[in-house]
């Protein structure tokens, strides 16, 4: 049975959505297109917001956030091709992250790296579907390996935020 959301959670989710969008814009601004070695390779700064949502709001909410983000980007003037890429990548990434985050032995680094790797797989699948050729599969291993580096960096950046939010949360409950 689904428990209704508290105002605190809804607010956190909306702020995180805004943060995700801001980070996408910031990334497009910081990293000009074509500077990275592979087409489709991104830092994935917006994943910081996703990881925070997973760790401090909830699993379903993280999935919701990922879908909402893709939708808002589409509405803000993205194209449909980009939407398919981002939805497929997002669903793959969040599902993997949800699975990995439940494991005791795997830390936030593993969660983020696994998410980044499966994001690449989702994107390549989208590329295969859209271009209807298997040729783009050639990129996959390199894309996965590089995205793992980005994933580790994202986890490193997320840790202090989750800790701070935990601290605030504990205070609020008391």
């Amino acid at each position: 049975m689904r428990r209704s959301w508290t105002a605190y959670e809804v607010t956190k989710l909306s702020v995180l959505l805004a943060l995700a969008l801001m980070l996408s814009i910031l990334e497009a601004w910081l990293v000009p297109k074509g500077i990275l070695p592979l087409p489709g390779l991104k830092l994935g700064l917006a994943n910081i917001a996703l990881l925070i949502a997973l760790y401090s709001v909830g699993k379903k909410e993280a999935l919701l956030l990922s879908l909402l983000r893709s939708l808002v980007v589409l509405l803000l003037g993205g194209n449909f091709v980009g939407f398919v890429f981002s939805v497929l990548g997002g669903i793959f990434a969040v599902c993997t992250m949800i699975f990995l985050s439940g494991r005791e032995k795997i830390s936030i680094y593993g969660v983020s790296i696994g998410g980044a790797a499966s994001h690449s797989i989702g994107q390549i699948l989208a590329a295969v579907m859209l271009s209807r050729t298997l040729y783009v599969m050639m990129y996959l291993p390199y894309l996965i390996l590089l995205s793992c580096l980005a994933g580790a960096m994202i986890a490193f950046l997320t840790i202090p935020v989750v800790k701070a939010l935990d601290h605030i949360g504990t205070k609020m409950i008391q």
């Binding site: 074509g34 909830g58 800790k163």
Partner: protein
């Protein structure tokens, strides 16, 4: 209080508890652990197998006659051996999105220009070997060098028979 983590990896229950309103949130594992290492090793192994597979596949395909193939929105526009293009031939492909210009000669195929924002396909440069390709996702155009239906050996036999 989850603010400060303990020094050891074997954390107590108290540390793992997350301040949610009675909801199960992921455990607070902020330290790189053995599980992560296994995960990364798994990913790297998977990738090396994939790279190896692609490499071997490419080597096998290399022996066959190179054909140039142009796909637009999944439909084959051109599929013929590179050798046939003794004179440089220019193809321009009109798509819903814009125009893609491909130049083909007996040695190579290259996307000269394209109406897409990122120009990734143009940056791919000259395609000379089997397995190489240039993809323009906005235009949904793929130019690739693919192995022909028969190997060189078969064609040599044909040549002898002639």
């Amino acid at each position: 209080m989850p603010k400060k983590d303990g020094q050891s990896n074997t954390s107590t229950n108290n540390e793992k508890k997350s301040p949610s309103l009675g909801k199960a949130l992921p455990p607070r594992n902020f330290r790189f652990s053995s599980g992560d290492l296994f995960l990364i090793i798994g990913i790297v192994l998977f990738c090396s197998f994939l790279i190896g597979g692609i490499f071997i596949y490419g080597n096998v395909q290399e022996k066959r006659t190179p054909y140039v193939r142009i796909l637009s929105d999944g439909q084959v526009l051109l599929y013929s051996p590179l050798k046939e293009f003794q004179n440089e031939t220019e193809y321009s492909i009109e798509t819903d999105h814009g125009k893609v210009v491909v130049l083909i000669s007996s040695e190579r195929a290259v996307i000269v220009s394209s109406d897409c924002p990122d120009q990734i396909c143009v940056k791919q440069g000259e395609l000379t070997h089997v397995g190489q390709g240039a993809v323009c996702l906005p235009n949904k155009v793929v130019v690739e060098i693919v192995p022909g239906p028969g190997s060189d050996e078969e064609q040599e036999i044909d040549g002898v028979a002639r």
